[in-house]
Structures are given as structure tokens and as C-alpha cells.
Symmetry: C2
Subunit: 454 residues, 2 copies
């Protein structure tokens, strides 16, 4: 639950009624640092807009802040891709027994609980009902209700789809436990009452195991997932896990864990893990126990452990976690703030920026284009800074790339034409190195895989 103070952080320059907002913060900071937190949030959101992580618009920024799917700009889009790719690899490649699936986002005949409240209705069909002059009020209501029942409901999570796919998946594993079904996709969790459904990019592993091991598996997945979040963090301790209080558990669950991120405005859940028993699985398959039984010593109906993440909020957590604000004096002794988005090398949407130094522009551009092609073929995302025609100082350029989270800035100059040497600046150390043009691609590639393996 994002509180209003965060929205205010974005919309207002000065903040009023601090006390009320402060009470809602659970970080336990003092008032002075609370105001710093607000600044931090404001800076982060402004950077997300300026550097094309998210698209402009107040409504869009609010969606983003609330941990909902929003309209992402090119950098946000690439970060989201990288995040989802890493999630996918980590769950499907870490164990042989997690299979990917893809289910439909809407369903006509899915067994739904309250979840099925949001329905896709053809407005044309409604219009046709209303045009039937002869219908009475009661008849109209009845017709509309029937139309609604025929209309597909939109999924609120990925659990139901996975439960439905349990039986066909048994074939894949020779009815042997444990195994899991993984999926990522858009979900439409219950709206906030404004009548506007929210979209969320969910990730889901539904893990089927023997009843007596379900608690151990919940612990296993919690460790795995927390390790994953922390792997990409600049400050890993901001990611933590905590048990879900009994009164907040979903009906079917016997135990649950939340992985949360410590945002400047408080803890927010990124991922929820639940040991859910067999009730929902039985219900989905209409109690047909014989279809559900698995071989593990004796025949049993498996228990379900669900691992559900919100990757939109995850994206914001990594943005928030990796933004470093550094104060320093410039040449004229004015205090300046340096903003560096230290995203993990694997997640950073742009790995290299290519820019022109002094020299014959036409030839230098050709070198840049060749190098860009090299990077692209190696699937290393590169930024064609050399296409920029507005004059900018190298200092301004570096500041911009730091805010974009670009790992390395490569400058091609006259020197490159003569000796093949170029200059590489690192985002994290700000150190500039000279390197031969033939080495740069492998250098960047090795740097990223080294970071991936830590």
C-alpha cells in the first residue's frame, strides 16, 4: 500500500501535513531524514521520467509508484525484459523439474471465485439489449446478467491456470513429485474501487510436492527467491523476508512468507510464497482424487506451494535500490549532486554508450557504426550516442549516462583512427581507461558474465 505522501513527493514541491504521512512510514526514521526520503523518491521518479524508464503523465507515474504495470519507455522496457529473463532462467534452469507454461489471460469457463469479477464485455452486445424496446426492466436486467455470465472473466493471478495444467503435466514427470509450473504474464488483480482495473506483470511458480515436504519446500523457495533478489541488489539488506501473520493468510494457506523491499516510504511486498495444501487443486479438478494422485512412496494428492511475484514493483525496487546520490563540488566550488543508477550489469538496459571525441566526424562515425554492429551481434545493448547532434560537454554526457545506468562509455576520437585506441569510462569507478578497439567487445562481455556469476 503506497501512501499518499509518496504521490505528494512527486507532485508537490513543499510538503504539508507531514505528521500524518510520517505516522504511516514504518522505517522508524526521524523527521529530518523523512524529508530526505521524500527528496529521494522525488529524485528517483524524476530520473525515471527524464531517462525514459517510464513514459510521461501523472497517471502513469502513479501506476508506477503503486507497483502496477505502466507505460514504460525504452530503458524501462529493456530493464523489464532483463528482469523477466533472469527470473525465467533462475526458476526453469536451476532445477530440471520446473516447466514453463502459458495460459490464457481471459477464460470463459474457468472455475472462479470472487476473482472472476472483472469481465470483458462487448459493448455492442449490451447496446443490442438496450435497443429492444419491448423488453421490461426485469427482462433487461436478466439479459444483461446472462450476457455477463457468457463474457470471459479476466485472471487476477496465474495460480488457477497452473492448477488446471497439473493433470496434463503429470505425463511429463511420470506422476513423480516434486515438480513445478512456471509462468509470467499480465494479471488484473482486484481494482482499487475506482472501477479501473490495474495491470500487474506477475511471475509465478506453482510447486507440487508431497504433503509432508511442503513446509520444507516453502523454506527452500523462500531462500532461493531471496537470494535471487539480493543477487542483483546494490544494498542487499533492503530485501528481506518475513512470515505472513495468520490473519492475513489466504483461506487455503497454512503458512506464508513475504519477500519485501524497504522503499523510502516503507516495506512493500515483492513476492508472496504460500503453502496452500491440496484444497484448491482438488476444487479445480472437481475432487477427482484418482486423477491427481502421484507416486511418492504411496499414492497421494500433492500439496501446492505458490511463489507469486510482482515484477513491476520489482523493477521499481531495483531502480530505488541502485540509485546513488553523491554530493560533490564542481570546479567553481558549487555543490552539485551526482546521480548514478548503479543497476546490476546483467539488468542494466544499456551496457555501452558510443560517443564521438575530437576528430574527423565522418570517419569517426563510421568507426562507431561498425562498433555498434559488433555489440549488437554479440547481443550487448549499445547506445548510439554518436548520433546526437546537439553539442554537449563530456561532463554533461557522463552525468546523463550515469543517470541512465550505462555501464561503460566508449569515446572514439582521432586517436582511434591513428592507433586503434579508444577511451572507456566505467560508471561505477568513473575511471577512464585506454583500450584497443579490438578488445572492447570482449571486455564488456566478460565484465557482464563475471558479474552474473558472483
Amino acid at each position: 500500500m503506497l501512501n499518499h505522501c509518496v504521490r505528494r513527493a512527486f507532485t508537490l514541491k513543499t510538503s504539508q501535513s507531514r505528521t500524518a504521512a510520517h505516522l504511516r512510514l514504518n522505517r522508524g526514521r526521524c523527521s529530518a531524514s523523512w524529508s530526505e526520503d521524500l527528496d529521494e523518491v522525488r529524485t528517483l521518479l524524476q530520473l525515471c521520467l527524464d531517462r525514459h524508464y517510464i513514459s510521461r503523465g501523472q497517471a502513469n507515474a502513479e501506476l508506477f509508484q503503486r507497483g502496477m504495470s505502466c507505460s514504460y519507455g525504452p530503458l524501462g522496457m529493456e530493464l523489464r525484459r532483463n528482469l523477466l529473463e533472469q527470473w525465467w532462467l533462475s526458476v526453469t534452469r536451476s532445477t530440471a523439474q520446473v516447466f514453463g507454461i502459458n495460459t490464457l489471460s481471459s477464460s470463459k469457463d474457468r472455475e472462479t471465485d470472487r476473482a472472476g469479477q472483472l469481465r470483458m464485455v462487448e459493448s455492442e452486445n449490451l447496446k443490442q439489449i438496450f435497443e429492444q424496446q419491448e423488453l421490461s426492466k426485469e427482462q433487461i436486467i436478466q439479459e444483461v446478467q446472462m450476457l455477463l455470465q457468457r463474457s470471459p472473466s479476466v485472471r487476477t493471478n496465474l495460480l488457477q491456470g497452473a492448477l488446471e495444467q497439473f493433470v496434463p503435466s503429470l505425463e511429463l514427470v511420470n506422476t513423480k513429485l516434486p515438480f513445478g509450473l512456471a509462468e509470467t504474464g499480465l494479471c488484473f488483480p482486484s481494482s482499487d474501487g475506482s472501477g479501473c482495473p490495474a495491470e500487474v506483470t506477475q511471475t509465478s511458480v506453482v510447486w507440487f510436492c508431497s504433503p509432508r515436504t511442503s513446509s520444507q519446500w516453502l523454506d527452500h523457495w523462500t531462500r532461493q527467491r531471496l537470494k535471487w533478489w539480493r543477487k542483483f541488489a546494490l544494498s542487499p539488506s533492503d530485501f528481506s523476508s518475513c512470515d505472513i501473520p495468520e490473519e492475513e493468510l489466504v483461506v487455503a494457506a497454512s503458512r506464508g512468507v513475504r519477500i519485501t523491499y524497504n522503499f523510502p516510504w516503507g516495506q512493500e511486498p515483492l513476492e508472496t510464497l504460500c503453502s496452500r495444501g491440496d484444497a484448491e487443486l482438488l476444487q479445480t479438478h472437481k475432487g477427482a482424487r484418482s486423477k491427481l494422485q502421484c507416486r511418492n512412496g504411496r499414492k497421494t494428492v500433492p500439496h501446492v506451494v505458490s511463489v507469486t511475484g510482482n515484477m513491476d514493483r520489482g523493477l521499481m525496487a531495483f531502480m530505488s535500490n541502485s540509485l546513488q546520490l553523491l554530493k560533490r563540488e564542481d570546479g567553481k566550488q558549487r555543490l552539485q549532486q551526482r546521480k548514478v543508477l548503479k543497476l546490476h550489469p546483467v539488468l542494466a538496459p544499456v551496457k555501452v554508450a558510443l560517443d564521438l571525441g575530437r576528430g574527423a566526424t565522418v570517419e569517426l562515425r563510421q568507426v562507431c557504426e561498425g562498433l555498434l554492429q559488433d555489440f549488437m551481434e554479440a547481443k550487448i545493448s549499445a547506445w548510439p550516442g554518436y548520433l546526437e547532434t546537439m553539442p554537449t560537454s563530456m561532463e554533461q554526457l557522463n552525468a546523463k549516462y550515469d543517470e541512465m545506468g550505462v555501464l561503460f562509455t566508449v569515446v572514439i576520437s582521432e586517436n582511434t583512427l591513428e592507433s586503434g585506441l579508444l577511451q572507456v569510462r566505467s560508471r561505477d569507478t568513473t575511471i577512464k581507461e585506454t583500450m584497443h578497439i579490438s578488445e572492447i567487445k570482449n571486455f564488456v562481455s566478460r565484465y557482464i558474465s563475471a558479474a552474473d556469476k558472483i
Copy 2:
């Protein structure tokens, strides 16, 4: 438009009323080969089900056949991932000036044409209206219509989202043309009247260029896209392009091209390219010409070339294209049909299957597990065939893997423990080679990248 004969191919063992169905086929085959085509379709669909490309269920198979998004099994899911990844790399990495974006699938205040007919309605809100006893029939109709207007409409394509992102993207390119915005995502194109909206995984490049070059860019993108489809095809000539007849063009378009695939039941469009002028861009931005002007010689409002693909149908096209049916005699001189899914190495969902030969099971399994880990770390998807506990002959196993489209089958046996040598069978040549265990990962990896570069 998929015709009923295809559905029949799947549902009926014998086909009736052939003539009517035959007339709808535009492949110009004779009746005898038409019946072969039906067999081919039936075989393909059965294989998709048996080998976990799509989930079971008549309704699901029908969605798949109609080129709609359906519930995919693990292999279909992985194929879809590979396909979308290749599409993404080809459009965003081939030129510096295509940026990825991600827009919302539903929108409250989007400028919609007829497209906005499908709306997401909270059924709870409708119920509340109906519960107000005091309302007259007219009042109820009015309330429902107002609710409908407040409810978000679901996108039918990705064009509108990209047009909206044109202005913010200008900053990225210094208002310089040409450039493009790429996106993939679920869309809900107009339903077939059954009241059930269909989901389609669309791909979209919206290309902004100067008015006088738009026709050349249309040709450029057609060449590029056709080349892409053919790159992954076993029989490239089944993919072709043709001009869209003037009367079938969307209103705004001056010229259009379709890339089609020659399915056994006829041509179906996979991708549509249109030169659309500036009308829709102007309409989206409410005619604010000054905001839309770009620098290219003189200030102009760009023209739009749209490139819209259906990756669900694309997936089926590659499945259909890569299935080879080979007749051969078995040892007892019975005629057998060998089915091989010769998916391109880059697209194949499983690259390697790992299986046990003769020998001490426990040790061999450990070797398999280590090798599986190696493959997974190298991001090469491997199938843990060694976990299979049902006895199967090597011949049956190979037949199964050929139907799955597995590139290589690796057999670990006693010999491997002694000398490190294992046996590798190729799907495409059926030749078995002996190789050292330390070489296999690089061998497969090199094989795939070599195929990628052709």
C-alpha cells in the same frame, strides 16, 4: 480465415462433404492430395498435443488452429519465447533507431475508434446498479451506459500505444527521422461474434519516416521481415509476400503488403505491413502539428509505416513448416511413419536430451545431472530424459525426441564412466557420433550459433 475443414480434420476421422470444403482451399491441389493435406493437419495437431506444444482440450486446439493465443504446454511455451526473442533482436538490434516500448493493454481514456468495443467491466458495479429498486428502465440503461464509458477498453492492436509514444520519443532522437517503436504483447482483436474475445500475441514496429520515403521504407521492411521468416524455415518458399488489394486496405493506408504462410488449407497472413500516412498520428495528437514536426530538411509531420505480426500463427506456421513425415520400413518390413519436427536450431525448444544407456544407474545419473547443470548454465535447454523410469527402447526414445524436435540426443553409458566418451545422435541426420564428454557443450553451442549466422 481458417475454414471448417481444418477443424474437421482434427475432430473427425472420416471427412464428409469434401466438395464444399475443397472449394475453400486455394492451394489448387487435386482431391487426392487434399486428403493428404487433411492427414497432415491432423498429424500436426496430434503431435502438438502429444509432445506438449499445446495443452489438451478441443477448444484450445481450435484456438491454436485459428492462429489465436492458446494455452501452451512447456515445449510450445519455450518455442514462443524463442520466437519472440528472435523477433525482438531482429528489430531492435538490426538498426540503432528502433526503441522498445511497453504500453498498457487496457486504457480508460484512449482515443478509440470501433476498436474500443471490448470493455472490462466490474460485475460488482453492474450488480449495484441492478439492486437499486427505485430506478426506472431508462435510468438503468443510462447508468449502465455510463459505467461502460468509465470502464477501460481493451486494445485490439499495438499501433495506438506507439502513436501515443511518438512525441516523448522525439527527445530520444533529437526530432530526427526515421525511427521506430517496437512492442510485443497480448491484443484482443474483434471477436468472431460469439462474444468470446480472442487473444493474440502481436508484434509491432511502428516506423516514423519522411513522407517521401514511406513507400521505400515499406519495401525495406517487407524485405527484412520476409527474410526473417524464411531464415527459420525448412521450406522457405512457403512464406511469401503479396500486395493487399486496395479494397481490403485499412482506411488510412495508401499501400499494404501481407506476409503469408501456405498452410495445408491455404494461405494465411502472418504479418501485415501498411504505409498509413499521417492521419492517425495527427488524430492521436489532436492535430497539434507543431508538436509532431521533425527535422529532415524541412519541418514535416512524419508518415507512419506499421509492421504488425501474429506470433501465435507464426508459431503454428513454423510447426507446420518443419514437420517432416517420412515413410520407412521397420525391421519386420512393416511400413512405419517417422515424424520429425525439424525446427530451426535457434527456435527448437529443447536442444539436447540426456539419456541413460547400459551401466550402473546411480553413477550414470550423477554424470547426467552434472551435464544437465552444465547445459543449463550455458543457457542451452536440456531435457532430463534420464529421469524417465518407464522402460523404453532407444528406437522409441528417438522417435519421441524427433517429434519433440530435440536437436541432439546424448546417451551416457558405462563407456562414459570408463573413457569419458558418450554417444550423440543428430535429429536431422540420424547419424550417431562418439564424442568426449568435455566437448559436448561447446559442440551444441557452436552448432546453434552457426545455424543462427546463416
